[in-house]
Symmetry: C2
Subunit: 257 residues, 2 copies
């Protein structure tokens, strides 16, 4: 029964290996490396790249991720490329007549994150640009990953395909809030600043005979106050707006005098 | 107060407009169009494409999405490109010293999906390949979208950037299960099939003197049963495995006779 449990890797596993099976264009290998590094992945494996290896086009297309390209390992076939891995997924746009669990990219990413936390080595296969993975490739894996893209146009570029999967993997460990009210170096203004601004504005509008009828005054004032209340002004912005009101009022006074 | 509410579009809005501001390479415009169509988006707008318009390189890079490229609208500046929209987001990798909410791609996608359900026209700005959006572009928008990528290497290719946002938008309306146990045209086997298989196997293993000691027999049988139980066999697979057992046993008998 030896060999039933693969040996544990020497150093901690941090992400899945990206395995490109018989990639045709160096540009796509470079784009895949760039997408990987964008998402914090660094282990690139290549099965029989069509134009040989190393490939200068892969290096130039990788932009700053050339060290990912330089460290790529090259294998003679899929079997050898995955032999040290514990779990392997196959990306494919087509459904296969093969009994196998099918994951969305985010579903697979969650699974892979859990497996990696257990220090298991995981790899993801990406197929040839024109024809994808063969059934012989897919057969050797534990699961299929299919992105639910536009059914009328679901074929992704190789680099794009790697980006989608790597991005979903990155997100499983990301804690960035979905919305963050960035206010730069400033501080949100207290409501007293907003009240001061609107009082100032109301005084000057009265002085400028802005309201054509007394009836419209309360509603209009409410609407104006509401605009500035919901804008979540910073202290600096409230000051700037008071300056604007003061300056416009001063010009009006000069014109009238 | 006219103009405070923009006019509603004539036909239902289905997705955000993708607006490339001064894109440099036709290849990237084509890659953006392809990524858009992969995710069901079709409205492409261009602000002053560097190499003029139309651009044959954009068409060839778009693969089958050439009609998205052909239908792209071209504008002289960002202001004109967004004038009919109700809400505009700016994609940027750098933080800006500008008071503005910052969304993750998925956070922005949720917001945009809600706004579009209200039939509001939404656009997303993508900057120049080398320098991104200017502060003048960003100023005109209601929110910033920043993907929380690898901080040491966060610069995405233009087509990749469009894909990330379009993908997150697609996902807000996607109901694909995260894992789906695909079994092709077959049916899962009832447990009686698994029991029949394991009984058959056990009989043949006894006949072949597989167990070196009587003590190991119950544990080993349990382990073997467990392997086939957790494999979630289809009816066809259970039949195939019974055929395998029968054939191996038959060969053994022939050898012994």
């Amino acid at each position: 029964m030896t060999g039933a449990v693969a040996t544990k890797p020497d150093k901690p596993v941090t992400g899945p290996a990206i395995i490109l099976v018989e990639p045709q264009l160096g540009e796509n290998i470079g784009a895949a490396a760039r997408a990987m590094l964008n998402c914090g992945l660094t282990e690139l494996r290549l099965v029989r790249p069509r134009d040989g290896w190393p490939n200068p086009k892969a290096v130039s297309a990788s932009a700053g991720a050339d060290w990912v390209v330089d460290n790529a390992q090259v294998f003679r076939n899929t079997r050898e490329a995955i032999s040290d891995l514990h779990l392997v997924y196959a990306t494919t746009a087509r459904s296969r007549d093969m009994v196998k669990p099918v994951y969305t990219p985010s579903g697979a990413a969650s699974e892979i994150r859990k497996e990696i936390a257990l220090n298991r080595k995981v790899g993801i296969l990406f197929g040839r640009e024109r024809s994808g993975l063969t059934n012989h490739d897919v057969m050797q894996t534990q699961g299929i990953i299919t992105a639910p893209l536009n059914p009328a146009y679901s074929s992704l570029n190789l680099g794009q395909s790697v980006l989608l999967i790597a991005w979903e993997f990155l997100k499983t460990a990301d804690t960035t809030p979905e919305i963050d009210a960035f206010i730069g170096d400033g501080e949100l203004a207290p409501q007293s600043d907003v009240q001061g601004l609107i009082n100032h504005l109301n005084e000057e509008l009265d002085a400028a005979s802005f309201y054509r009828s007394p009836e419209q005054r309360p509603t209009m004032q409410q609407n104006l106050h509401n605009i500035f209340a919901r804008a979540r002004l910073t202290e600096q912005e409230a000051k700037t707006l008071r300056g604007v009101v003061a300056r416009l009022a001063a010009l009006r006074r000069q014109l009238k005098s």
